[in-house]
Amino acid sequence: MMMKRFLTVLLVCMLMFTLVLSGCGARKEEPKPAPAPAPAPAKVRDTVIIALQGEPTTLDPQFPDDGNMRAVTDNVFERLLEFDGKTLQPKPGLATDIKKINDTTWELTIRDGVKFHNGDSFTAEDAVFSIKRIIDPAYKSQQVSYFSTIKDAKVVAPNKIQVATDGFDALFPKRMARLDMVSKKYVEANKDKVNTQPVGTGPYKVIAWNRGVDIQATAFDGYWGKKPAIKNVKYRFIQEGSTRLAALKAGEIDFAVNMLPEYMKDIPNVKMETGAETYWIRFNQLRGPMVKKEMRLAANYAIDRKALAEALFLGAASPAQGQMGKEGYFGYSSKVKTYPYDKEKAKELLKKAGYNGEVIELVSERGRWLKDGEVTEAVAAMLTDAGFNVKIKFLSWQEWLDTLFTQAKAPALQFSSNGNGFFDIGLMYNTIVHSKGSQSVMKNPEMDKKIEAARKEPDPAKRQAMYDELALYFYDDPFAIPLLTLKDIYGLAKDLEWTPRQDSMITVYEMSFKS
């Protein structure tokens, strides 16, 4: 009897404990989405529910370098210039005009009649404050590497500011398209609220952040630009891709980021756009078998890129065009095409190089990028097929980083993925090709000079011509095997309309529901 009573009491206690705890944890407000598949069709939908991969850690848009946060803050904050979603060129945003005063000074004209969500006007002081805040070493912004050339900013007229850079910076307008504008008054007066209650000038304002559950925003009445079509946004956080897919199919969410190619057939409404990541394999040109030009060319001809894109990514990737980057990036050259797949030519080149079957090490890692391991294995098989004696070595992420950044440890071949925050091919030449670049394992003093000259060239047409020349040169004397450019895959509800952007921004103000 005693025992029975004890067990009953124990069970009841545990049950109550869980109920009480779940009561504490649960927010007062019940999530709105109906779990039943079909919501009443007659009602006009005014809320879009977006599933991100994780919860932002802060909504202070100047602090972290975090895609989950950007998905929210890109709709809440604005920048002096904005990227065009199709051409990737900077265009007017909170500044109506930008002009170069001299090689180290830019002047921007601030737009009139822009209001912050708290009713304050957006002024030149706010712009200067935002720029100075992000480069302030004491603030420790994780985005500071994007703005390393900016030295100072000052107000020169009620609606004009000037920004000083360290030498001529061709990327300056693009940097401005990444720098979110915050309110000087609000940030200074509300240090404790900046992280959780953001005040921007954007089309949406954040109204609630229920930690662990969701972030809610609603259209801002005082917005200076075009009114968004959808009134409310709710962001949810679902780390696992297959769960995002399940939630989309169950009708709990309307928009899911980062879907896998395999999911495409199950998604009600798939949207795809070429993303920012290019898979590539680096040649070690300082020592080992890949020093010889013929070997490097042979490796490029040995790869069937189309097969990789079709078989591994079901079409959600495209063959890289003999260079690293995609159309729309500044400096992308239309003069070079994809290396054709030509196994016989590769074998011929190997013979010409006098390759003796020496082991060629291909270092890679697994799990960082979509199907990175599978791509490495397929590439190794193709190289082996053409006559290379390739040995794959998979390393942990930390060891892999070490071989990427330490010249002395660089293997003959290393798989990596190259992103490009400013959509400018110059960044890639600086870090990978230039002998002083952090990922460089080559030395070509003549080309180093050309890369430096292109970096400093103020005339865009001349600069483009210089990158064309570099692209052609390196097509014949490659520093890498450019493999594939991946596509971003988004899952949308059947009745949601949206066109993905070249800069991967998730713009809620460009979404609408079909009526």
Binding site: S22, G25, D65, V213, A250, E252
Partner: protein, 305 residues
């Protein structure tokens, strides 16, 4: 008894100290967090700057003494990734995981005890074999797979529960059931085997000979005697779950608990936060072990401390 508890608590302090030093050394040996924190395109100068900001350019022994000094004051510093006090991040996630793990253990116990007792009642019968096999399957199923199947059926097809998220009972059911599968299997097995053993013991035979009903033998006499074994297994499962074993299930169901936090922390190489997490886990495991040991004495009066 009080002396025993104090002794154990002192021992706990030693264990936590040792674990913390070990973790500090290991995390600082596996690689350079600065490389993982900045984008691949960052320059060497930017990396050096960040290393300096984080104090990683100091000699390792200097970092270690600084860390231990702060740990004694329960100050784990600020998370590199979130810029908030590490301990507050960890503590804010613990209740969320407690809800989930608590619910899963309630479910596990409700399923496991009847299963084990029924199976033990008629050993080697068909029912016994079915139940024993079922518990074995439960132990062997990967929770990740169970989770996906439950979501597909109960959330996508039937729409009874939410696929993911946090906040209501309808969010809680599927992850709790998924997590309950393994401990339910473990507990059912241990109940089945220890119960069968008890039913053959001298006292059970005597009780039957005195004319005590079989159900009374089972529930009144045998059940209390198997509790020490059940506590050992159940306590271990509970400790593992709270220590982050629940991570896979939390990730699948988008449950914002401690397990998901650990996964994120490791991928971001946030050393201070990882240290705080391991500290809290060590404390929890030591406490659960202590509670289990004290409960032994309750169920088995021969044990005294």
């Amino acid at each position: 008894m009080l002396k025993y508890v104090i002794q154990r608590l002192l021992f706990t302090v030693v264990v936590i100290f040792g674990v913390s030093i070990l973790v500090f050394v290991i995390t600082h040996l596996i690689g350079d967090p600065v490389k993982a924190m900045l984008p691949l395109q960052a320059t060497d100068a930017q990396r050096a700057q960040l290393a300096h900001q984080l104090g990683l350019d100091k000699p390792i022994w200097e970092q270690l003494t600084e860390f231990l000094g702060n740990m004694i004051r329960l100050d784990f510093g600020v998370s590199w990734w979130q810029q908030v006090s590490c301990l507050s991040i960890v503590l804010s996630k613990i209740p969320t995981t407690l809800v989930l793990v608590g619910a899963s253990f309630v479910i596990a116990i409700i399923i496991a005890f009847p299963m084990g007792i029924i199976a033990a009642y008629k050993p080697d019968s068909l029912l016994d074999r079915i139940l024993t096999t079922a518990s074995l399957i439960g132990i062997c199923l990967p929770s990740f797979w169970v989770a996906l199947m439950l979501v597909l059926f109960f959330a996508v097809k039937l729409g009874w529960f939410y696929t993911s998220g946090y906040g209501t009972i309808r969010h809680l059911v599927l992850p709790a059931v998924t997590l309950a599968v393994v401990p339910a299997g473990h507990i059912a097995q241990i109940v089945r085997f220890s119960m069968a053993e008890q039913l053959n013991a001298q006292y059970a035979v005597t009780a039957r000979a005195k004319g005590v009903k079989e159900s009374a033998v089972l529930l009144k006499h045998a059940l209390k005697n198997i509790m020490t074994a059940v506590l050992t297994i159940g306590g271990m499962d509970l400790a593992m779950y709270l220590a982050g074993e629940a991570a896979a299930v939390e990730v699948v169901f988008g449950w914002p608990g401690f397990g998901s936090l650990v996964v994120d922390t490791i991928s971001r190489q946030d050393f201070p936060l990882l240290q705080a997490e391991i500290f809290v886990v060590a404390v929890i495991i030591c406490l659960i072990n202590l509670i289990v040991d004290l409960l032994y004495a309750y169920f088995d009066p021969r044990i005294t401390y």
